[in-house]
């Protein structure tokens, strides 16, 4: 271990500091605060010099792996390259210096951009209106489900408390539905990996609020019977929710709105090249069909007759609104389709989303333009099929049809060696590739889910294929090297079970 790889607390030396505060020129002092508000101990912060901090974090950052350092075929995550011009635009002082509480009259340009991005996303997806407020994909799911719930409630249809989720869905789908207070009903996949229409039919009745679908689904397969599914669900009075996690292969080619979906969310950090923030800022805009537009959350950007943009906060703006009716809902007496904001499903974020992320997505769309945006999907699909076909004689391919942007292997073709998917994933790290998604979807016991995205060259794909074939050969010639992998990373194979059973969460507990 290198010296500066130590924890920052281990580099600490009492009294060392990397700052100098000005002398307190004010007469007041913290000691005037009531004793009950003062902490009794000095906070246990590391005491280090500026150089210690720089070296420690520079070394840490070099242990990291990102799209900028190598191929990252993480299935279902669309780890495409994030063009640097996105960063340049987002860093422009005119944008970066905005404050969310500035009066609307001083941010007309930013509000116009917000509306333009929403319009571009409407064009791409075939939805009537968008909110850009949600901070992440799962936040978008919750928002979309709240819109669906609000729609049913506004019609007095209170029985619709159940939502159908396929067994291949992302785990966030049932989780978001549960948070929204809906009961989850599972529908099975058939042998071809698609939603089983015959299994779906008996589930449809007047208690169904809707169905959540991902298309192409988690196996990278296009749900070919989507029109029939849409008709069946609509017939029973339910709505269709589209999880946009897998929008990348369809962008500019097929529109969820045309397939019959009523609500969708997009992951800007997947399809629209904004950073996967390692838990940092994301964005999950939600689009809806025209009949649901009035239920989108607030705050939302509205345009006055003279072209001025303003922010609707949910309180009724209609002339008929009674004095003091307040925000949200039926108190003002408006109809469910009133668009002033009063029929909104509520407020799901403090301000209007992660504006810096929205800027990056807007830049991406404009840089590609209408023609090039149509190239994204086909290239992503070509790359995925190229890898799939090049490796299917070494890895078990449970569903051998043409895939979209990603596909799933079920471990090695020769499983007699005892080498598992986890071993393969760990061994890939030794060769400088990020591991694919593993053990998801749950339909297969040794799932390896590979998504190359459209931004990789054929040479990179060939390099990955060669290493995967090499690992398949190693599984037979030297299985031990796989079972003990990785060997070249800053930390070796972790004991994930003990970490889960007895987690050590604080430095002091180590």
């Amino acid at each position: 271990m290198k010296y500066y790889d130590k924890l920052i607390f281990d580099l600490s030396k009492a009294g060392r500091q990397g700052y100098s505060l000005p002398v307190n020129r004010w007469e007041r002092s913290v000691s005037e605060l009531p004793a009950g508000l003062l902490r009794s101990d000095v906070p246990a912060l590391p005491e280090v010099s500026e150089l210690d901090v720089v070296r420690h974090y520079t070394n840490l950052s070099q242990m990291n792996f990102g799209v900028d350092s190598g191929f990252y075929p993480l299935g279902s995550c669309t780890m495409k390259y994030n063009p640097k011009i996105n960063e340049e635009i987002a860093a422009m002082p005119a944008f970066a210096g905005l404050h969310p509480l500035q009066p609307a009259s001083t941010v007309q340009g930013a509000l116009r951009l917000y509306k333009d991005l929403a319009h571009a996303l409407s064009e791409i997806t075939g939805m009537a209106q968008f909110t850009l407020d949600p901070f992440a994909g799962a936040h978008g799911e919750l928002t979309g489900l709240m819109v669906i719930r609000q729609y049913h409630m506004s019609r007095g249809d209170l029985k619709r408390t159940r939502i159908i989720v396929p067994d291949s869905a992302h785990g966030t789908n049932p989780a978001s539905a549960a948070v929204c207070g809906l009961e989850i009903v599972q529908v099975k996949s058939n042998a071809a990996g698609l939603v089983d229409v015959e299994d779906l039919k008996p589930l449809l009745d007047d208690t169904i609020a809707g169905i959540m679908m991902t298309n192409p689904n988690t196996l990278g397969l296009f749900e070919k019977e989507i029109k029939e599914i849409a008709a069946l669900v609509h017939e029973c009075g339910g709505l269709l929710y589209y999880d946009g996690a897998n929008m990348n292969p369809l962008m500019g080619v097929v529109r969820p709105g045309d397939m019959g979906f009523d609500v969708l969310h997009l992951n800007l950090h997947k399809t629209f090249s904004t950073p996967h923030g390692g838990g940092g800022p994301g964005a999950g805009p939600v689009g809806v069909a025209a009949h649901l537009a009035s239920h989108l959350p607030v705050p939302k950007v509205m345009e006055a007759e003279d072209g001025t943009l303003y922010i609707a906060d949910g309180s009724c703006r209609c002339e008929s609104a009674p004095e003091g009716a307040g925000a949200f809902g039926p108190a003002c007496g408006c109809k469910p389709e009133c668009t002033c904001g009063c029929q909104s499903c509520g407020q799901i974020s403090g301000f209007m989303g992660n504006f810096g992320v929205l800027l990056r997505a807007y830049t991406y769309i404009l840089m590609l333009g209408k023609q090039n945006i149509k190239m994204v999907g086909p290239l992503a699909v070509l790359g995925a099929n190229y890898i799939k076909e090049s490796l299917k004689d070494c890895f078990k391919l449970p569903i051998p049809t043409v895939c979209k942007h990603e596909f799933v292997f079920d471990g090695l073709l020769d499983q007699s060696t005892g080498v598992t998917t986890l071993d393969i994933a760990k061994r890939l790290l030794d060769y400088g590739f990020h591991a694919p998604t593993i053990y998801f979807p749950l339909l297969f016991h040794q799932a390896i889910m590979i998504e190359p995205t459209e931004t990789e060259s054929k040479e990179t794909l060939d390099g990955f294929i060669e290493i995967m074939r090499h690992i398949a050969a190693e599984a037979i010639s030297d299985p031990e090297s796989l079972k003990t992998a990785p060997h070249t990373t800053p930390v070796r194979r972790l004991d994930e079970t003990t970490a889960a059973r007895q987690p050590v969460l604080r430095y002091r507990d180590m």
Partner: protein, 127 residues
Amino acid sequence: MAKTVEGLYYSESHEWVKVEGNVAIVGITDFAQHAMGDLSYVDMPEVDDELEKGEEFGAVESVKAASDLYSPVTGTVVEINEELEDAPELLNQDAFANWIMKVEMSDPSELETLMDAAAYEAMCANE
């Protein structure tokens, strides 16, 4: 092939049932613990919970995945295996020796809808 135990009842969602009088002792099968991998947590019901057959009564979590548990019978929970709270690995060590809950059955005829060991093994062979 994962092992089974003769004389128990088995559900499609991989629970086993051992009958003692009117009480159903419920656990997960060896096939299930093997598919899950090293378990890190067992979410259990509370005593006196009323369960319908097929209703979710808890979950098992491993590093790989989380999986819901479904009650194979209708009845009232009379006891849970508190040992599993601190030692979920017991299910990995011996899935049949370590039960999860005991249910006072309200309709023992439901047992007829469950599988015997041979039928369960045949089902697992197709998974």
